[in-house]
């Protein structure tokens, strides 16, 4: 499977693999909130086509790291490069067009809209709406809208949410909301997907569905994925590499098996009764 992934990544359009640089690179990034040091001097390199898991105790700074990459906040210090481009100072609303999509730990869908509209919004960075053409909604504007709609319908189909296409998201159970959020991120045609606990609150069956989507997205849609997850079963099974944070510091990195065996990780995160992973 790894081979296949690598091969595909090599054929990508905006490849940076060629010059040997990592796809996403976080260098010496720090972030404090008031007195709280959420992240210090974090280094992270993610290769194109990878599925990377980030683990760590609650409050370790995982979400903060993703927030920094997706430019929800600026880092206090350090540099973030993505696809060969320094994105440390890119305005937040440009991050989607740079090619980064994400989901949120606490589902952040637009509750007053249908699933379809949420996904259409995901395509916002690919649209150039004009106020007059929008208000008149005729000709080109309509044609564009239909094109986007076709693409969104493809994603809806892909994620198997066709039956709830016109449902208000507020009325959906959490599991489906997470799936819709994933769809919204996909709709922006990102090359890197940041998923913050995409499987929290799901039962095994639902997790399996989600895993299946993640695999498909990674392999067949050729997206690089960084995900935060507390379910060690999932993390160990699907990721190629794992980075572990604790107290804002990276304490371990490597293959799932390496990280699972790392004493610091056991100490801080898995607990001595680390049978967790095998449940």
């Amino acid at each position: 499977m790894n081979d296949r992934t690598r091969g595909r990544a090599g054929g990508g359009c905006m490849t940076d693999q060629a010059d040997g640089r990592p796809f996403l690179k976080v260098e010496g990034v720090s972030k404090s909130f008031g007195g709280v040091r959420a992240l210090s001097e974090i280094e992270l390199e993610v290769n194109r086509g990878e599925i990377r898991a980030i683990i760590g105790p609650n409050g370790a700074g995982k979400t903060t790291l993703i927030n920094l990459i997706s430019r929800v906040y600026p880092p206090d210090r350090g540099r973030i490069t993505f696809a060969g481009r320094d994105i440390t100072r890119v305005p937040t609303h440009r991050i989607a067009s740079v090619g980064i999509g994400r989901t949120f730990q606490n589902v952040a869908l637009f509750r007053g809209m249908t699933v379809l509209d949420n996904l259409m919004l995901g395509r916002h960075p690919l649209m150039r709406p004009g106020i007059f053409s929008s208000g008149i909604y005729w000709g080109l504007a309509q044609k564009k809208e239909v094109e986007h709609r076709a693409r969104v319908e493809w994603i809806i189909d892909f994620l198997e949410i066709t039956h709830i296409r016109k449902t208000l998201v507020a009325a959906l159970p959490l599991g489906l909301q997470k799936r819709v959020e994933l769809g919204r991120a996909l709709a922006g045609e990102p090359t890197l997907l940041l998923l913050d606990e995409p499987m929290a609150g799901m039962n095994v069956e639902e997790k399996e569905d989600m895993v299946r989507f993640i695999f498909d997205i990674n392999e067949e849609l050729d997206k690089t994925i960084v995900l935060i997850e507390h379910d060690m079963g999932v993390v160990m099974d699907i990721s190629q590499r794992v980075s572990a944070l604790d107290f804002g510091v990276k304490i371990a990195e490597g293959t799932p098996d390496e990280v699972r065996a790392n004493p610091a990780v056991i100490e801080a995160y898995l607990g001595t009764a680390a049978q967790q992973a095998s449940r």
Binding site: Q105, M202, M232
Partner: protein, 263 residues
């Protein structure tokens, strides 16, 4: 101690969510309620705690009894006074109150300051990270800390029955273990009866003695924890076990994934 008799819950007068649910929690026990997303688990707990009103929901049929009182029509405040505490889904702490003030708010029904102080210290003993953050606004705590706080806060009312809605949601494995340990400990030492809603069925079925499985607003299966653990369907859908032990997530593609034809 707690009994639900054929309860039916409707939201906004039209959405029937709980369809005749019967359930019992014996004094001193730990009972777990499992079920898929949207099955109506949270709704059940809200119905018990009297919280449906705020969400335009109502109990249209059936009765909820607690120690012989019928509590269908009581206000949440009255229900708390009877000794029921709910730890709501998604760690809803009072963001602008400090950790300690959250705990004090939890003790609202009590008057004896000395006892309250003692219980606060007890909570800090159970959850040491909270002690270090007692003066910090709870909105700034990490997810795990907030979950601890929510449980601790519920303890402050000295409940006889604690309703826990997915306490392990979003917690690190070590903490999940800890929290379940603490729940078991509370059950044994403080004699708190527990009704636990969980997605982490493996964990829940280890500490619970009895379990119910809720689907689409109906109980589809119930039994002792041990019997549930052995049930084939439970194994497949809630525990993720195949005949040979734990099923790897990697395998999903082999038997569930459909081939996609991409152009």
């Amino acid at each position: 101690m707690l009994t639900l008799q054929n309860v039916e819950v409707i939201y906004s007068k039209v959405i029937l969510v709980i369809k005749g649910l019967t359930l019992e929690v014996p004094e001193g026990g730990i009972v777990t309620l499992l079920g898929a997303n949207g099955a109506g688990k949270s709704t059940t707990l809200k119905a018990i705690a009297g919280l449906l009103g705020a969400e335009r929901g109502e109990i249209t049929k059936g009765g909820i009894g607690f120690n012989g009182h019928r509590i269908n029509d009581r206000t949440p405040a009255e229900i708390v006074k009877l000794g029921i505490a709910l730890v709501p889904e998604g760690r809803q702490v009072f963001e602008h109150l400090t950790t300690e003030e959250n705990l004090l708010a939890g003790a609202h029904t009590r008057r004896n300051l000395a006892e309250i102080r003692r219980d606060i210290d007890l909570v800090y003993q159970y959850f040491p990270p909270l002690a270090a953050r007692r003066r910090i606004e709870a909105g700034y705590l990490s997810g795990g800390e907030q979950q601890m706080l929510a449980i601790g806060r519920a303890l402050m009312s000295r409940p006889k029955l604690m309703l826990l809605d997915e306490p392990s949601l979003g917690l690190a494995p070590m903490l999940v273990q800890e929290i379940f340990d603490i729940i078991a400990q509370l059950n044994q030492e403080e004699k708190v009866t527990v009704l636990l809603v969980e997605q982490n069925a493996a964990m829940a079925l280890t500490i619970a003695r009895y379990g119910y499985i809720l689907e689409n607003g109906r109980i589809v299966l119930d039994g002792t924890a041990a019997s549930l653990r052995d049930n084939e369907d439970v194994k497949e859908f809630y525990l993720g076990l195949s005949e040979v032990g734990r099923r790897s997530y990697r395998d999903v593609k082999h038997y569930r994934r459909r081939k996609r034809w991409l152009l």
